[in-house]
């Protein structure tokens, strides 16, 4: 127990003292997760809408694929994107491997199915009269989609925030595509893995505390966004 208490006390000192290594990892985690979530939202929201309300050939297959993608582990996605970005891969000449951009791409691939699946579920629950009313009042397809999205504002925001929570806590993609380079691609989760392996338990604990606080804040925000009816 002394070991734990000592680690916690040291972690608090690191946080309060503005340890550069700790806060750099926090900043990289936040902005990379934010950027990848934005990309995932741009892709996932329209895909979720199309799969939910569209009537096209292959819709059932798209649904199955969407649900299957939810279960792919982050290290699997890391491996896939790595194979594209590595020197021998099709995009190797772009020199993106072990950069924050590579982490953003990998995390976006992880987050997009989350956004799409939750968006599809949200639109499936929308009162069909909403779209019928918009159509009968003369709205075109884009306005109908935007109107439906407006009706589901809190649920769609929750979908995007859930995706943020997913990528914020992942480690496989960050490690494989970022390379864990200090002050460049080292984020909270890769720092925890590294520092704990080195025996620097206090630093790992400090970062773990921040990870927990931010993850809890995101979960709380998702809960509040969904409202009392949907959170029940």
């Amino acid at each position: 127990m002394d070991f734990l208490a000592e680690g916690a006390a040291q972690a608090l000192r690191l946080l309060a003292g503005g340890n550069r290594e700790v806060w750099a990892a926090v900043w990289i985690s936040v902005w990379v997760a934010f950027a990848s979530t934005c990309v995932a939202a741009v892709v996932g929201l329209p895909v979720g809408y199309a799969v939910s309300v569209g009537r096209f050939r292959g819709r059932r297959a798209a649904l199955v694929a969407l649900n299957a993608l939810l279960g792919v582990p982050s290290v699997g996605i890391g491996l896939l994107v790595y194979s594209f970005l590595s020197r021998r891969g099709p995009f190797g000449s772009w020199g993106m491997l072990f950069t924050p951009a590579a982490m953003v791409i990998g995390q976006a691939v992880l987050a997009a199915p989350v956004v799409a699946a939750l968006t599809r579920a949200a639109f499936a629950g929308l009162d069909p009269r909403a779209r019928q009313t918009a159509v009968s009042l003369g709205a075109g397809p884009v306005r109908v989609a935007l109107t439906a999205a407006r009706e589901l504002g809190p649920a769609l925001t929750a979908a995007v925030m859930a995706a943020f929570g997913r990528v914020f806590g992942e480690v496989g993609i960050s490690l494989m595509l970022g390379g864990n380079i200090l002050f460049y691609t080292r984020n909270i989760t890769t720092s925890i893995a590294l520092e704990t392996a080195k025996g620097e338990f206090a630093l790992g604990l400090a970062l773990g505390g921040i990870l927990l606080v931010i993850s809890f804040a995101v979960s709380l925000a998702v809960h509040v966004m969904r409202g009392p009816e949907e959170s029940r």
Binding site: R129, Q132, T133, S136, G138, G140, T147
Partner: protein, 218 residues
């Protein structure tokens, strides 16, 4: 019929798995007239009006709107905006009363000041001026229906279809609705359904539905 038909049904058939089927032989509604559809619950009034209102396609047959054949096939935007359908259980979008009333005008690309002028005029006409900024989730059932009717009327469509517009309305609003529909005679073709045959006193033509079949009663 003396005038050109605004809306005509041509051999409409619509069947449901639970056994109900709608069978409508040809009938036409002349432009600018008021038509009522009566019948008991389950007679097929809503099914028929949803087809005439371009909300649901029929299994067979089609309709003619302002001389153009519609169904089978997609409904064009021009055809869609010529007609407005107010549902039996209207849906109001999240937001204010004024935003809801202005929705169809915005969908038609009407710019801000002109849209606001028409929305304000409509709200005054419907006695909704005080509720312009009210959240629609706070409205009573009757108020919500009244807002939905205002939202349809502000568009000044060639054909206005109202599915049981008097449901949930109190007597003064029912009277106001009658006046409103009468005021449209000659300029807008109005079709509405009702349970109450007495409510068809303002109609030029009345159609009675029974178990999916339509007969002209007047």
């Amino acid at each position: 019929m003396t005038g050109a038909p605004a809306l005509a049904a041509r051999g409409i058939r619509r069947s449901f798995p639970e056994g109900f089927s709608l069978r409508v032989e040809d009938f036409a509604v002349e432009a600018g007239s008021i038509c009522g559809f009566t019948g008991p619950n389950g007679a097929g009034k809503t099914v028929l009006l949803e087809i005439l209102g371009l909300v649901e396609p029929p299994d067979e047959g089609g309709i003619e709107l302002l001389g153009r054949r519609i169904f089978p096939g997609p409904v064009s935007r021009e055809e869609r905006t010529a007609l407005t359908f107010v549902m039996q259980r209207p849906y109001l979008f999240r937001g204010t009363v004024a935003w809801n009333v202005g929705y169809g005008l915005a969908a038609r690309g009407l710019a801000g000041p002109e849209r606001k002028r028409r929305v304000d005029a409509c709200l005054e006409r419907f006695g909704l001026g005080d509720l312009a900024g009210a959240d629609v989730r706070r409205l009573s059932g009757g108020e919500a229906r009244w807002v939905a009717i205002a939202r349809g009327c502000v568009l000044e469509p060639a054909v206005l279809i109202l599915d049981e517009p008097d449901a949930h309305l109190d007597e003064p609003h029912v009277e106001a609705l009658d006046g409103l529909i009468r005021g449209m005679r000659g300029s807008t073709t109005v079709l509405f359904s009702t349970h109450d045959p007495a409510r068809t006193r303002i109609c030029d033509h009345v159609f009675a539905l029974d178990q999916g079949a339509v007969q002209q009663a007047r």
